[in-house]
């Protein structure tokens, strides 16, 4: 018996292809445009700056990718990040001054993670066990984390008094100086203040952290049972349940994962700006959802990739950077990102509509 299918060289095929590659094309087009139109756009220095500036957005967007693929949304990420940043900053300040830097960072990270895990666990239990819609559950957590962050910090950013922290957050793996040559992890010794101006850094630490997290998250999503189950739950929750997938446990894990990435982003913020602010992630919600959706994830669930989200985050960051280089009023960036999100969602909806026909 033969069950032949009509080969789909139809409009659906082209729409599917278009929906998969338009973001790549858009990014390439933008890079090409800014390289030609903007002076200093396509330089190693500027490209590193783009990557370093997008690290926090990208790290949160990784967690949002999992949530959106599972058919949900996490509105609380930005304020969970801020709450984690405040708690971690407070803990870092309380440690004795003689503590080594790695211990300070790890303690701060752990404190921030602990707080975020509670938030993620509550989100997950509300959604998976009590059937609260993700939009409502995480909107509640949005308010709660916001309140806790501001209460703990007294409404003000918490400056972190730890020596060497800012160096870590803004440091590079490699340094090069025209006369002193290359050095690893820290600038070549013996340079004067004036000579330091000619110093070039390569591979910012925050970018390396982002890349490592990206790699782990990509493997977890594309290769493991957990990743496969995330897609299955987003595709057909009922079918996933009948197939014996522990749907509730997986969903709780997914929301805790999202909170984990938010907390890590909070600590990256602390280390980079040497302070912890409750509203550090205020602008992150829109940008993370935008990055995920531009990257090809479906708000209906069941589709999306970490690499796609990377493309989405790159589009947002390149746009922001390019507009500054072109001396366009930076507020235009919000409008541009808003338009790109709407285009992405329209493509997603059209694809969904065709798929159902």
């Amino acid at each position: 018996m033969r069950l032949q299918s009509i080969e789909l060289r139809s409009s659906r095929f082209w729409l599917d292809t278009l929906s998969q590659i338009w973001a790549w094309l858009f990014l390439l087009g933008m890079v090409a445009f800014f390289s030609v139109a903007g002076e200093g756009f396509l330089t190693p220095f500027n490209i590193q700056a783009i990557l370093a500036n997008m690290a926090i957005l990208m790290i949160i967007a990784i967690g949002q990718t999992y949530v959106i693929i599972s058919g949900g949304i996490d509105l609380s990420v930005g304020w969970v990040m801020g709450m984690a940043a405040v708690i971690s900053a407070t803990v870092m300040n309380r440690l004795p001054e003689s503590s080594p830097l790695w211990l300070v960072v790890l303690s701060g990270l752990f404190a921030g993670l602990l707080a975020a895990w509670i938030a993620g666990l509550v989100n997950g239990i509300l959604i998976a066990r009590l059937n609260v819609p993700p939009f409502i559950a995480t909107l509640g957590m949005f308010g709660i984390a916001r309140g806790i962050g501001f209460l703990l910090s007294g409404g003000m950013p918490v400056p972190i008094y730890v020596r060497g922290l800012g160096f870590l957050g803004n440091g590079f793996l490699l340094y090069h100086h025209p006369t002193a040559g290359w050095s690893f992890l820290s600038p070549p010794p013996g340079l004067t203040q004036a000579e330091l101006r000619n110093l070039t850094g390569y591979f910012p630490f925050v970018v390396l952290v982002m890349l490592v997290l990206l790699f782990i998250a990509h493997i977890l999503l594309s290769r493991t049972k957990f990743g496969l189950h995330t897609y299955a739950i987003g595709g057909n929750k009922e079918a996933a349940m009948r197939a014996g997938i522990p749907v509730a446990r997986r969903l709780i894990a997914i929301y805790m994962l999202s909170a984990t990435f938010a907390a890590i982003a909070g600590i990256v913020y602390n280390v980079r700006f040497t302070n912890g602010a409750a509203n550090a992630g205020e602008a992150m919600l829109l940008d993370t959802v935008a990055a995920v959706v531009i990257g090809g994830a479906s708000l209906f669930g069941g589709a999306g990739t970490v690499i796609g989200t990377l493309i989405g985050a790159l589009i947002i960051s390149v746009l922001a950077n390019g507009l500054v280089i072109l001396r366009v009023n930076p507020f235009w960036q919000f409008i541009a990102v808003g338009i790109v999100i709407i285009i992405a969602v329209l493509i997603d909806q059209a694809r969904e509509k065709f798929a159902q026909e």
């Binding site: 018996m1 069950l3 299918s5 493997i219 049972k225 987003g234 009948r242 197939a243 069941g302």
Partner: protein
Amino acid sequence: METRDIRTEPVLRAVNLTKRFGGLIAVNNVSLDIHAGEVVALAGDNGAGKSTLIKMISGVYRPDAGHIYLEGREITMASPLEARSLGIETIYQDLALCENLDATVNIFLGREPTKRLFGLFKQVDRNLMLAESNKVLDRLDIHIPNLRRPIRQMSGGQRQAVAIARAVYWNARLVIMDEPTAALGVPEQRKVHELIHTLKRQNVPVIIISHNLQDIFAVADRIVVMRRGHKVGDVPAGEVTDDDLVAMMVGSA
């Protein structure tokens, strides 16, 4: 003690099953046997108790009274998962497939094989899933081009075939199909009939629920008719006509 003949021992034997919902008796004292390689159609009007009977056999409902024996041993099931682990596979009308995932993943959903990558972490073994999927589809004489396409891009008949392949791969001892042709066009219905015949040839017994008399006469060896929770008929398919069946279903005979 009587000696049991393996050939006449029914694969599934339901004895005096009863299920009540409040004051309503949905299934009243119904017994049902099904033997290896037999296709039994369950016919009846809406609300006759077909679905409730099937749900007791597939572990969704716990019977209020009665016993179920699988290959001679009494079984009780707390959940559909437990029924599946015993080899009772139910294919629901909606097929319960994840349309965003491909056929191989759907066949293995919830029971994915893994292998270690660099000895570090367990990754889903997609090559094994593809090879095994091809094997089971060959066994069922099903040919689907490109198993790595999402189910969304497949026809209704292909989807039904994937659902059946999933049931068979896990060594189903009994396959229950709920309205398998309800959403299909005529050519695709024929393909599903062929699949049921293939299952039969491989000695897998099938219970099929259907409203479609054509379905029933095309595949069934035996027809069990239900009306208002009672079993009102249990006849070889060759010995009744459409009219007899309808008469039994509506109670005018």
